[in-house]
């Protein structure tokens, strides 16, 4: 080997391609090798050398591995564009896959898998079959990955040729590298299939745990990540798993450590012994802290994960706050994350240390970091009541340095502190007012104005201060305008003197006539009307007591947090977003007769949101004070009764109360008769439960067949499985003889739940002033509980289907049902909140996948199989709540009738 590879990049004046062609066909080996290198060099800089395909492939039959590898590299690149020519290489591939040299065998299988040409894959099956059982582990581990490659190209082929079984056999291989690759391949295949393919049983569990100790660091991550899907049967098994995984915490590879942490956290949920849990927390702390000694990139990932972990288990790192102090040379993205964690770990015990740090950060150079540090002080004040005073004195110290953006940031957080501790720290207002004229950011201005308005009675010159802002009213951003408006009204209500009176007129004029902003105009009109009709009511509204805000440092809600914790050590835990919000690549097992399924899959893609996830940006994930309800409540929380009057007044109506609690008489298909007039002495009652706009109603109609007027209708529901009860009084006008009326009665579920096995019986009692009490029975159709939020994304559906054990699956035939048109059925089901996800064809049957959701998050994963126009529908359902299944089938049968 001589000279430099870079010489292959040099060009000659003569036509390059013909020259290369000549060299490729040279009789000398070395010359041919050099020529192939030149071809590859041209290829990597983007030149089209595909015309040399046949010449390059001719060099493939060689014993020289170096040359062979080069040719393979070329083939992978161009086979797609030259599929017909690629076939020429097949024979050599097949021959190579039987070469005595294991490296060549593996190389052949690996390369063939990378050539995504259908014709080639057909020839790949036999060599692959052999290589999966090869004597050499290097060949087997390469073959294992090749199965995943083939599945990606042609899943059917993989299943038909039994490669999945072969892959599962490799889990028991004696070489840990092979096991790791088999696990990786199976996990990937499972990810793109609806059916359970790779399920970890207690048997595979022990195999994987054994292989864990021996395989490479990368293999350990594959195995750990697969294990994280395993749900331990009980606390003992969970403890056992944790015990085997804990030594991984000592691994030098951070990915291994984080994947181990994930499993331990998941299994800890099952462990009941508090001693064991405490001990595990103690064991996890040092390795987690050690992650912060790694490269900054890894520190960032670790910090994003630790952020989640401390929200769930604050004790783990409660004593380690010092390690999260920012280092001088930390990249800004690391510093930002450390600040977040410091706030979360701040406690009465360490707050002095923490404040000292924040104060130091607030005088650093980076503006964004400084701002965040100032906000952090405010958040600590809101979080720790006993430390609030110390936090405020630090903020005041910072304000005195008079660095503009520090002052503004401090004022924004002080406003939040006032909202958290009303009537406590107002003595500092004077200091704040000194900085008034330096404010130039909308949020800071708005905050300051809010403070002035809120405490107008304690600020002697509040009117002057506000007036200084008013001059520029038309130019201010909407945020500031709204605050100015409200603050001026507050001022006027508190000090109804001449000055404020003039101000309020100017402001109202500005905010109604001179503006295009509807929010501002509406608010101004409401104030105007309030002030002109009833100033006392205005006081009640505008100066109403505000709800106290609370600490927001644990800002994720618990269900999202749990989902993210289950995804520790993945991108999801770095973005703090559930995986389906940024992963769009989900494939369902497409079989050959599945074309329609594949079609709908396309539309499925476009529906699933694949918007750019900017979660990595530290600032967007910061939360800062945006979760504090900054929105001014001035107009927001008037006493509910005043509202209709006010509206009526505004609309020019004479105190006409809009009858909000009496729904307009419904119309619709006739209702089933539940109390025939023969039984009801002339009164006929028909009724049915129905769902509209996310509410359950009892659609009920009364027909007066008696000779007299019926009035004073009342209704009562007996205890039932779903605790359905009337959510309001029954409103029925007196019924004249021969008259009928129909009404929607709002129902509230989960009120008076009858114990025992679920059933659909609904016992109803109706009385009126003229007749005895009537009792009748109705059936509760389960689908009235199906929520509008029941639509699942394909990914979520697959995930949920896989996560449920098989014995939660039930099947039932509805011989009387018939699907005459798929579209009509889908539409009808959707009207009842049973949502269509995908369909596929299986032989001459149509298979529909649907989802529905009950309150309290009980999902139904549904598979409906039927032939269009042929009676008989098969329905399969998977749900965590087995008890509901009979009711579910009743509902589905009714919906497919």
């Amino acid at each position: 080997m001589s000279g430099h590879d870079s010489k292959y990049f040099s060009t000659t004046k003569k036509g390059e391609i013909p020259e290369l062609k000549e060299e490729l066909n040279s009789q000398y080996k070395d010359k041919r090798k050099d020529a192939v290198k030149k071809v590859i060099a041209a290829m990597t800089v983007g030149k089209d050398v595909s015309s040399l395909f046949t010449d390059v492939v001719n060099c493939m039959q060689t014993e020289n591995l170096e040359l062979k590898k080069l040719v393979y590299l070329y083939l992978i690149n161009y086979a797609k564009s030259q599929p017909d020519l690629a076939i020429l290489a097949v024979n050599t591939f097949v021959k190579d896959s039987q070469d005595p040299n294991p490296l060549i065998r593996a190389l052949a299988v690996r390369t063939m898998g990378c050539i995504r040409v259908d014709k080639i894959t057909e020839y790949l099956c036999d060599p692959l079959q052999r290589c999966l059982k090869d004597d050499d582990p290097y060949v087997r581990k390469t073959a294992a990955i090749c199965v995943a490659k083939l599945y990606d190209i042609n899943a059917e082929l993989v299943e038909d040729r039994g490669f999945l079984e072969a892959l599962k056999d490799l889990i028991s291989d004696n070489n840990p590298m092979v096991v790791a690759n088999a696990v990786a391949a199976l996990a990937e295949i499972q990810d793109s299939s609806v059916r359970p393919i790779f399920e970890i049983t207690s048997h595979t569990l022990s195999k994987l745990l054994t292989a864990l100790n021996e395989c490479t660091e990368w293999g350990q991550v594959f195995i750990l990540d697969s294990l994280s899907r395993y749900k331990a049967a009980d606390a003992r098994e969970a403890e056992n798993i944790v015990e085997r995984v804990t030594p991984r915490l000592q691994h030098a590879n951070c990915a291994v450590v984080l994947s181990a942490v994930k499993i331990i956290l998941l299994q800890m949920e099952l462990i009941t012994s508090t001693d064991v849990v405490r001990n595990l927390c103690k064991k996890m702390a040092p390795p987690l802290v050690t992650l912060l000694s790694a490269e900054p990139e890894i520190q960032y990932v670790a910090l994003r994960n630790i952020n989640l972990i401390v929200q769930k288990r604050p004790t783990i790192l409660a004593h380690e706050i010092k390690v999260f102090f920012c280092k001088y040379n930390d990249p800004i993205y690391v510093k930002m994350e450390k600040l977040e964690i410091m706030i979360k770990l701040a406690s009465d015990r360490n707050i002095d240390q923490v404040l000292l740090e924040f104060k130091e950060y607030a005088t650093e150079v980076d503006v964004d970091f400084v701002r965040k540090a100032v906000r952090a002080i405010g958040r600590c004040a809101i979080k720790l009541e006993r430390a609030a005073e110390r936090c405020i004195s630090v903020l005041l110290e910072l304000i005195k340095i008079k660095v503009n953006y520090v002052v503004q940031e401090a004022i924004i957080v002080i406003k939040d502190i006032f909202r958290r501790y009303p009537n406590t720290y107002e003595s500092i207002i004077a200091t704040l007012c000194e900085s008034l004229d330096t404010l130039d950011e909308p949020e800071a201005k708005a905050s300051m104005i809010w403070i002035i308005g809120e405490y107008a009675e304690r600020i002697d010159n509040a009117d002057e201060l506000l007036e200084s802002f008013l001059e520029t009213f038309p130019e201010e951003p909407a945020l500031v305008q709204l605050q100015l408006l409200t603050a001026t009204v507050k001022l006027f209500l508190k000090k109804p003197t001449e000055g404020p009176q003039q101000m309020i007129q100017a402001v109202l004029n500005n905010a109604t006539v001179e503006t295009d902003n509807p929010d501002l105009r509406d608010r101004a009109y409401i104030y105007w009307r309030l002030l002109s009709t009833d100033p006392e009511a205005a006081k009640d509204v505008v100066l109403a007591e505000k709800p106290v805000i609370s600490d927001d440092s644990n800002q994720l809600d618990s269900s999202l947090l749990d989902e993210l914790l289950a995804n520790i050590s993945t991108l999801s835990s770095v973005y703090h977003k559930p995986p389906e919000s940024f992963v769009s690549r989900v494939k369902a097992a497409p079989r050959a007769d599945d074309e329609e399924f594949a079609d709908t899959a396309e539309t499925g893609y476009s529906e699933s949101p694949s918007q750019g996830v900017d979660g990595a940006s530290p600032s967007s994930s910061a939360g800062t004070s945006s979760n504090v309800p900054v929105k001014q409540p001035a107009a927001g929380s008037p006493p509910p009764a005043a509202m209709p009057d006010l509206l009526g007044d505004l609309m020019g109506m004479d105190n006409a109360i809009v009858p909000v609690d009496e729904p307009a008489a419904p119309s619709g298909p006739p209702l089933p008769v539940l109390l025939p007039s023969t039984t009801g002495q002339g009164l006929q009652i028909s009724a049915q439960l129905t769902r509209r706009d996310g509410q359950i109603y009892y659609d009920i109609s009364f027909e007066n067949g008696t000779q007299g007027v019926l009035d004073g209708f009342m209704i009562q529901f007996n205890k039932n499985t779903f605790g359905l009860a009337a959510g309001e009084a029954l409103q029925v006008t007196p019924l004249q003889p021969g008259q009928s009326t129909r009404t929607l009665l709002q129902m509230t579920p989960f009120q008076n739940i009858s114990p025992g096995a679920p059933n659909s019986l609904l016992q109803v009692a109706v009385k009126n002033n003229q007749q005895p009490v009537w009792y009748f029975n109705d059936k509760i159709p389960l689908h009235v509980f199906f929520g509008e939020d029941g639509k699942m994304e394909r990914a979520g559906f697959l995930e949920a289907w896989k996560s449920l054990p098989d014995d939660n699956e039930f099947t039932k035939e509805f011989p009387g049902s018939i699907i005459s048109s798929i579209d009509a059925t889908v539409e009808r089901l959707a009207a009842s909140n049973v949502f269509f996800i995908a369909k596929r064809k299986n032989a001459n049957m149509d298979v529909l996948y649907l989802s529905a959701k009950m309150p309290r998050g009980i999902p139904f994963l549904i598979e409906v199989t039927a032939s269009v126009g042929v009676p008989g529908v098969k329905c399969a359902v998977k749900t965590p709540n087995r008890e509901m299944v009979p009711l579910f089938f009743e509902a589905m049968e009714a919906l497919t009738k």
């Binding site: 990915a255 984080l258 040092p286 890894i298 990932v301 010092k322 660095v403």
Partner: protein
Amino acid sequence: MISQFFVLSQRGDHIVFRDYRGEVPKGSAEIFFRKVKFWNDDEAEEAPPVFNVDGVNYIHVKVAGLFFVVTTMVNVSPSLLLELLQRIARVTKDYLGVLNEDSLRKNFILVYELLDEVIDFGYPQTTSTEVLKSYIFNEPIMVDAGRLPPLGPAAMFMQGTKRMPGTAVTKSVVATEPGGKKREEIFVDIIERISVTFSSSGYILTSEIDGTIQMKSYLTGNPEIRLALNEDLSIGRTGSSYDYRSSSGGGTVILDDCNFHESVHLDSFDIDRTLTLIPPDGEFPVMNYRMTQEFKPPFRVTALIEEAGPSRAEVLLKIRADFSANATANTITVQMPVPSYTMRASFELEAGAVGQTTDFKEGSRRLEWNLKKIVGGSEHTLRAKLTFSQESHGNITKEAGPVNMNFTIPMYNASKLQVRYLQIAKKSKAYNPYRWVRYVTQANSYVARL
């Protein structure tokens, strides 16, 4: 798993590009580069190592001034990818001896061959130089480290942060020496990065040591090696986390936590603190450790800033080397931010100062003081007079500082962790390879507040 792997230069040129799955739309490298270059419209702010653009996840590290990037479409472990990128960089360096744009370009075929063995269909296979040796057939073309063209601003990123500059071995572990036979030698480096924060009154607020025992073996036949550490070494803090009293007296070394390379056997570690291993070829960390036990900081830093008239101030910087005169620190830099309205600074070095330079960086408004070397036990001072464009707000100490210091001290380690001996299983009596055990301490975040 991984969709693509690529290496970009500082200017965004493709140096290496490999697509493993063909699922990421074209132009990903350009999208990545633009995103990183203009993160938040602000070149000063660095992009985080993991981000998502239009459904494609980009994960990157910067090594030797180059961007090592992978893309993926699925929810994978980002720490796995970040580790892998670092490891690819290390393996490549093992093979090429030097890692830079030039060496990668000259050896592109070898690099592609490596990549095919390291990653298959997006799954990491092996990153052990030792294992890879049996599958790699191309030979590296050496780039002369001495004649390297300067990388400009990139040079500051040279080879990560864990390595010690200047002493890193720039020799391929696979290439045969031009002279014929390979020299039998093994390097064991104990590299410690120390972080100390001094309060304004000189107290130590936080202190930490991040250490690595790094090995690079050029021994043929991979003999077994025993590495003995301090006998009284203990791991895991006991009792309260900030209780140093019990530990500082006895002189024992107490590590908070440590982890080991997978080749290390710990059979006798609990008994006599020895590590046994068969070192694979290439550079690798035998052990990483972390220590917050109190230690004597090598430098005491004092900084004073005082107003001297309406728009003037005086700065006094003093460093004292608190280590024995046997050791000498080199390439020392002391930086101190000054108020933003500082216009000019004039410096006054101590009498007889040699190898010291000073500078006032107007852009970043800070004083910089560089010293070529500091001998243990000595003390150095610098005075500076600042002229302001306006009167100060009367709180000048808040607007200046903190002082940050950078240094390297060869043959010194703050933790007192030691390699007592390095034993190589002998093949014959004549076999006596070179053993290099070297200590070096570097500043990580060495800060004195005002």
